[in-house]
């Protein structure tokens, strides 16, 4: 018999507490994910959830302190809960007031590659009329620099943007000159396949702190099959280009993105190994988008959400294994979601924003002067659907573009916080609205979430990442590191 009575002898059988707003969604048969207003999560069983709601949860219950610490309830000792939630919520949404940090300039639609799934519906290299003119570029730059965001990233896209490198030089120098009086933080990125890179281009990039973002789909055979070009040497040119670019710019100035085709699905380990071999410190495992040639050639329909999830989970499991062996290597899609789950910061990733990232997160200036709400909006327009065209750089003012009904209507209608099912979903703080994808697939900005592949894929990813963290302290620590990169 103990000399002392337990703490419960000195406390009321049930604590007097007030519930704070939260949402819950099942994790498995008996476990639930609870998220508070700021997106912090906690796992509890059904008994705890029901007792919590009925105000029957004892203050000695093992879950009580966690529920109080993460603002699911407040009692006499935690009256500051609502104020802290407000602060965290404000931090999460601070980007809204400083909108549009990313500006994509499609300097040409021409490309010397002929990728069957290409998301930009490329035109052939010798078709000269698909390049942006200096007059159009200058007017687009005016609009970009009008954005409230203090941090302006200008990304040059194509086609293959290096086919119009003269215009890139003009835009970079103009932006730097005009920014003298604005004092914004300017950053430049060229999204290129590197096939046409040379030392003159690299020297210009070095002198103007331009980042290089390239495409690497995996080992030689897979990359070359995905990205056919005259000579069949896309892989060789990319690898040589990465090496030269790193030599001139520095390793941290060159990044790579991969596209998952059907041929990639059984080869996730080989793809990750290729990134490790090439000296990258992470990989972005991302699904094919339903736009441009991807949908025209049925590449998008070649695999569904379930097959992509298998690919993704195998990939993340392998990346975790590499880290367990002592390698520092990250998966960037997970890192974006984990930042939302484990910090009060929002990474501002356009596909996972609500209000949607269109217009607010990014604006696209097409080669012909049309302005679109996102890169995907432009691809949709290439398919004949101009639902998200906001205006033209030569004929519309900034105010007209940013308040276009083609932007405001989808933003309002797709807002997840008030969308059926999303409104009650515990994963809503981690998810996005993506009205362009839903419009492309279902013909309206919202879609029916129970039938949406976007919803199914994201819900499973959130559950998978939470299960991984909750079942393995090593993974929890690793994910914390990714979240705080």
């Amino acid at each position: 018999m103990s000399l002392f009575q337990g703490i419960e002898q000195y406390q009321a059988p049930t604590a007097a507490y007030q519930l704070l707003p939260f949402r819950f969604t099942s994790l498995d048969q008996d476990q639930y994910v609870l998220t508070n207003l700021a997106g912090e999560y906690l796992i509890v069983d059904r008994r705890t959830l029901v007792e919590l709601q009925r105000h029957q949860l004892s203050s000695t219950d093992p879950a009580y302190c966690d529920l109080r610490a993460r603002h699911f309830l407040m009692d006499a000792s935690s009256l500051i809960g609502p104020a802290l939630l407000s602060l965290k919520l404000r931090t999460r949404y601070h980007r809204l007031a400083e909108f549009t940090g990313l500006h994509l300039f499609v300097v040409t639609l021409r490309c010397e590659h002929a990728c069957p799934y290409c998301q930009v519906s490329r035109q052939s290299e010798d078709t000269l009329r698909y390049g942006m003119s200096p007059e159009t570029a200058s007017a687009a730059l005016d609009l970009a620099l009008r954005s409230p965001s203090q941090h302006i990233k200008i990304e040059f896209q194509g086609g293959e943007p290096l086919l119009n490198f003269g215009l890139i030089q003009f835009l970079v120098q103009e932006a730097e000159a005009r920014n003298q009086r604005l004092g914004k933080n300017l950053a430049f990125v060229i999204a290129t396949n590197l096939a046409l890179i040379n030392d003159d281009i690299l020297r210009f990039c070095r002198d103007h702190s331009i980042l290089i973002s390239t495409s690497l789909d995996g080992p030689r055979d897979l990359h070359n099959a995905n990205r056919p070009r005259p000579g069949g040497d896309s892989y060789e040119r990319t690898i040589a280009g990465i090496a030269r670019a790193r030599q001139v710019l520095g390793s941290d100035r060159v990044s790579a993105l991969m596209t998952t085709t059907e041929a990639s699905l059984p080869r996730v380990r080989a793809i990750i190994d290729e990134y490790v071999t090439q000296g990258f410190t992470g990989i972005f495992l991302r699904p094919l988008s339903p736009y441009g040639f991807a949908i025209k050639t049925r590449s998008y329909r070649a695999y569904n959400a379930e097959r992509w999830l298998d690919f993704y989970k195998q990939g993340v499991d392998y990346v975790i294994e590499l880290n367990r062996q002592g390698m520092d290597f990250a998966e960037y899609y997970a890192s974006i979601i984990l930042k939302k789950m484990l910090t009060s910061e929002d990474p501002g990733y356009v596909d996972l924003m609500s209000p949607a990232g269109i217009g607010i997160g990014a604006l696209v200036y097409n080669y012909d002067g049309s302005v679109y709400a996102s890169d995907e909006s432009r691809m949709l327009a290439e398919m004949g659907q101009e639902q998200f065209k906001l205006g033209h750089v030569l004929t519309h003012r900034y105010e007209e573009i940013i308040s276009s009904p083609n932007l405001l209507d989808p933003l309002e209608e797709s807002f997840a916080y008030s969308a059926p099912m999303c409104h009650d979903c515990a994963f809503e703080p981690y998810c996005g609205a993506d009205p362009v994808l839903h419009y492309a697939l279902y013909g309206d900005y919202l879609g029916r979430k129970p039938e949406s592949e976007f919803c199914r894929r994201n819900m499973e990813m959130f559950r998978y990442l939470i299960r991984k963290m909750e079942s393995d302290p090593f993974v929890k620590q690793l994910f914390m590191k990714w979240a705080n990169r």
Binding site: L19, P21, F22, F24, Q53, L85, S86, L89, Y93, L96
Partner: protein, 112 residues
């Protein structure tokens, strides 16, 4: 003995309106829209749900889906209660969070 493999296209279930709200049942039905459509009618204090499956299911599978639907109604009912209880504090938190960001306007100042 019942034939559990016999395919069925439609099953019915009922809820007591004194216990469950209509909104909780509608939300649960929405979540299952991929699996079945629901005809929801009121009869006195009873809420009747006729569930028509997108494709025929065995009686055993149908029974399991009805059970899952009932559990979902319970969850939705719990959500409704939580929402009602925390609405006031949620509004205070949201108002406080956005009070100095310029993202909301003071209606008392902008109103006529």
């Amino acid at each position: 003995m019942k034939d559990l493999d016999k395919p069925t296209k439609s099953l019915a279930t009922t809820f007591d309106s004194k216990v469950f709200t209509l909104i909780a049942i509608k939300k649960a039905a929405y979540k299952y829209i991929r699996v079945f459509s629901a005809d929801i009618t009121m009869q006195g204090e009873q809420i009747n749900c006729q569930l028509t499956f997108s494709s025929p299911v065995s009686e055993e599978e149908g029974g399991r889906l009805v059970e899952d639907f009932k559990k979902e109604v319970l969850d939705q009912d719990l959500r409704e209660r939580l929402k009602a209880e925390t609405e006031a504090v949620r509004n205070v938190i949201l108002a406080h969070a956005f009070s100095k960001t310029g993202l909301i306007t003071d209606e008392s100042l902008s109103g006529d």
